[in-house]
């Protein structure tokens, strides 16, 4: 188990190093000078030069890359060009929106997907299964921002149960915070739930055909007992993989949903930073997201090993 974990850890570090080079290169290659963006069309050349020096943009690119990476290793993610506040602090503030939103959405999607997937697998080929398959197909096909707009139209504009967007802040209590994250979480969760339910169903169907399931029935378990005790547990591995991927997606991929609901989250921060050429923010946030995704994958790998003893002995 230890050797397995160590191997995964080394590949994690390597992925991060490669990612940092790629991110820096891609973002720096795009044309556009942050200083001239900030000062607009009437700025004088000497004003631009002064600002570039102030932002540390007057050194060479390799030097900037080294400064950036060594800063990050020391826990310093730099200072935003436009906001002039430390990136680490901005990210921490935004995480208080994005992380709960991702967890909320993931919880919803799991709560929906598990029963639906199991129900469909248990009723394979029957009308219930067909209905689930149809509904989940639709759920995958429809983009989440469209769901978001429909939710706003119905629950915010017509019924007035929720605000159309914005975040109430955790200072106003857990309920106020959750309330303002509910519509975005549902919009994020529905397409994910559709995917997860299908994975759950097909994983279970694979397991149901296994010999040990027949053995379980033969030793006297009812269909239902066999399904729950032996089927669901064994179907968890592919489902865990998908949940891990979905968490990364929800954390990093809620940019559009955060725009639609104007939530002050990470996605919106990146979006604003890209259009303002706030390179340091884009680089650092993308790097953090890569770190989060890689770490989640690492944890999922470890979770496999915990769930499936075969993986431990093999490596």
């Amino acid at each position: 188990m230890l050797r397995y974990a160590l191997k995964r850890l080394i590949s994690l570090a390597l992925s991060l190093a490669v990612a940092s080079v790629v991110i820096f290169a891609v973002i720096e290659v795009a044309p556009g000078d942050p200083a001239s963006f900030m000062l607009g069309v009437n700025a004088q050349p000497e004003t631009l030069a002064a600002l570039r020096a102030e932002l540390g943009l007057d050194v060479s690119r390799p030097q900037r890359y080294l400064n950036w990476v060594s800063g990050m290793l020391a826990g310093d993610f730099g200072t935003s060009y436009t906001y002039r506040t430390p990136v680490a602090q901005m990210v921490a503030d935004r995480l208080w929106v994005s992380l709960p939103l991702a967890l909320y959405a993931l919880t919803l999607s799991t709560l929906i997907a598990f029963p639906v997937g199991i129900y469909a697998a248990a009723r394979r080929g029957k009308p219930g299964d067909l209905a689930v398959m149809g509904a989940t197909q639709l759920g995958i096909a429809v983009p989440n921002f469209w769901f978001a707009m429909m939710l706003v139209l119905i629950f915010a504009i017509n019924l007035r149960w929720f605000n159309a967007g914005g975040f109430a802040g955790w200072d106003n209590g857990l309920w106020a915070g959750l309330h303002s994250l509910t519509l975005p979480a549902i919009a994020l969760a529905l397409p994910q739930a559709a995917i997860l339910a299908r994975v759950m169903r097909s994983a279970l169907l694979d397991i149901l055909g296994e010999d040990f399931m027949r053995t379980a029935r033969a030793k006297g378990l009812s269909r239902r007992q066999a399904l729950w005790r032996h089927g669901v547990r064994n179907a968890l591995i592919p489902v865990l993989t998908i949940i891990g991927l979905q968490f990364s997606f929800l954390l990093a991929g809620s940019i559009i949903i955060e725009q639609v609901f104007y939530l002050p989250g990470l996605g919106r921060l990146v979006f604003q930073a890209i259009s303002a050429r706030d390179l340091i923010v884009v680089e650092s946030v993308v790097m953090l997201l890569v770190f989060a995704v890689i770490t989640v994958n690492f944890l999922v790998d470890l979770a496999y090993a915990a769930v499936d003893p075969r993986l431990r002995s093999r490596t």
Binding site: A30, P31, G32, D33, P34, S36, F37, M38, L39, G40, V41, N42, A43, Q44, E46, T47, A50, L51, E54, T82, Y83, R84, T85, M90, D93, R94, M149, V152, L153, A156, I157, R160, N163, A164, G165, G166, F167, G169, Q259, V260, F261, Y262, L263, P264, G265, R268, L269, Q272, S275, A276, R277, D278
Partner: protein
């Protein structure tokens, strides 16, 4: 049993009365949405209009200020005298003005602010506004004398810009996140990415405004903007981004729609040095190929005023020259043939992100194709536009709105991105700057408008409209936008 019941009943009554009372009184807070969030809150070191929208006249004030109708009136300066030769301005400041941190605003602060803007390492985005200042002297605590190198008829106008507000040396360090000014509103809170809150300043030197508190929210997505307004989450949307939805608000008695004008001349900017656009006949052909009304209807849903030169139609000195470039494809083809392009030619059209450019660009390209000019559309982000088009001058055509007020002077700069180099025009601008007589200035401005229209420097499309949506009870909102500002001191709720 009766007692608790009575108590509950009395409590309910009191609550009811309280609700009635608060309903009878006009609201004293407001939530205003805007599309972009300010990067920081220092109006003297960035070009972002969002900064001015939040702080101009609310938190920071200058010696002079703009009113909603575009006029320039006294601000922190109570009065001023101008010397015979027009080079020495002596300002008398209001007495008893303090900054929000309690320090006094006096002539030293004015000197500090202007010296800071003109300094070598100044980060002021509009440094040209202060270019003529030779010296700023403190005569006494309430008197400042500013000496100019040469007369500048625009000087009082220049001082009204958000880039010329008065700041204090005591609080300049933290100005970007904790702005301290002299205005009627104090900065209270900024939750980055979400909102900025301002609170009424009880020690304000002028009249106390009606609103106690204002919250600015940032909603960039047009669909989200529509939803937030419809759900009544916000009271006002400054510069509503979805003109296609305005009829819905107009039909709804809960809302009012304000259609005004901005200082944004939207033009088909043309690289005057790049062949074939160095030939005036080709530029004239461009002008006649374009159908302005079709662009306004198609890209802006009918909002916008056609212009025939680089000047705001709501300005008293405006001359209507749209007739010089009336839509006439036959004439355009004839002019092209005369210039040696009977079969047309191929060119490029750079489009920055705003919808006036992206939507307008499609229509312009189609109209140009009609007379044989094939314009390849290149969509760019703002940073890229600044780099390649504005700084690099590496473009043929682009669509952009010039939002600075009274910016016809850019045509006197031969190195400006559209590269119009006409000594006559440069001389005309020099004369204008040295003229302070209003009638003479109007005449010179008219001449300048005509000169660039007859040289067909750029394709003049339309004046960008300001589209505001607000709840029905909000009054005092600026209809036009002589500068980027949301003047809270004028806003109140109807009873």
């Amino acid at each position: 049993m009766t007692k608790p019941f009575f108590r509950t009943f009395a409590g309910a009554m009191a609550l009811g009365v309280g609700l009635l009372a608060s309903q009878a009184m006009a609201r004293s807070d407001i939530t205003i949405a805007m599309q972009l969030e300010p990067p920081h809150l220092d109006p003297t070191s960035a070009a972002a209009q969002a900064i001015d929208s939040v702080v101009y006249t609310n938190v920071f004030e200058g010696l002079t200020r703009f009113m909603g109708d575009g006029s320039v009136v006294p601000g922190l300066a109570e009065s001023w005298e101008i010397s015979e030769d027009g080079t020495v301005y002596t300002f008398t400041l209001h007495d008893g003005v303090t900054f929000h941190d309690g320090t006094t605003m006096d002539a030293e602060d004015v000197k500090f602010s202007l010296d800071r803007a003109t300094a070598e390492d100044s980060a002021n985005a509009q440094k040209a506004l202060f270019a003529g200042i030779e010296s700023v002297e403190v005569v006494d605590p309430l008197t400042v004398r500013i000496t100019l190198a040469e007369p500048n008829g625009n000087f009082l106008f220049n001082l009204a810009w958000g880039d010329a507000v008065i700041v204090a040396p005591e609080s300049i360090e933290g100005i970007k996140t904790n702005p301290v000014g002299t205005g009627a509103y104090k900065f209270a809170e900024w939750v980055q990415g979400d909102r900025i809150t301002l609170e009424r300043n009880p020690d304000y030197w002028g009249d106390q405004p009606a609103l106690e508190q204002a919250t600015f929210k940032f909603i960039s997505d047009p669909t989200a903007a529509f939803a937030a307004m419809m759900a009544e989450d916000v009271d006002v949307f400054d510069n509503f981004p979805a003109p296609e939805n305005l009829p819905q608000f107009e039909a709804d008695p809960r809302f009012q729609v304000l259609v005004g004008s901005t200082e944004g001349e939207t033009i088909l900017a043309t690289n005057n040095k790049k062949p074939p656009f160095d030939d005036v006949r080709v530029r004239q052909a461009l002008a006649h190929a374009i159908d302005r009304q079709a662009i306004i209807d198609g890209a802006m849903f009918g909002y916008g005023t056609p212009i025939g030169t680089h000047f705001a139609p709501h300005n008293p000195a405006y001359v209507d020259l749209t007739g010089l470039s009336a839509h006439d494809p036959d004439k355009a083809r004839a002019l092209l043939a005369e210039a040696g392009f009977a079969d047309g030619f191929e060119t490029t059209l750079h489009l920055p992100p705003p919808s006036y450019a992206r939507r307008g660009g499609e229509i312009v390209a189609a109209q140009l194709a009609e007379v044989g000019i094939k314009a390849e559309i290149i969509n760019v982000e703002w940073a890229q536009w600044l780099e390649t088009v504005f700084k690099g001058k590496n473009f043929a055509l682009t669509i952009v709105s010039h939002t600075e007020p009274m910016d016809i002077g850019i045509y006197a700069r031969p190195d400006y991105y559209f590269q119009y180099d006409n000594p006559d025009f440069q001389a005309l601008m020099a004369t204008l700057n040295a003229t302070t007589d209003p009638d003479e200035r109007t005449r010179l401005l008219g001449e300048a408008q005509r000169m660039i229209a007859e040289d067909y420097v750029n394709g003049y499309l339309f004046q960008l409209a300001k589209l505001g949506v607000a709840k029905a009870g909000v009054q005092g909102l600026w209809e036009n936008a002589p500068t980027a500002a949301i003047d809270l001191t004028a806003i109140s709720w109807a009873d």
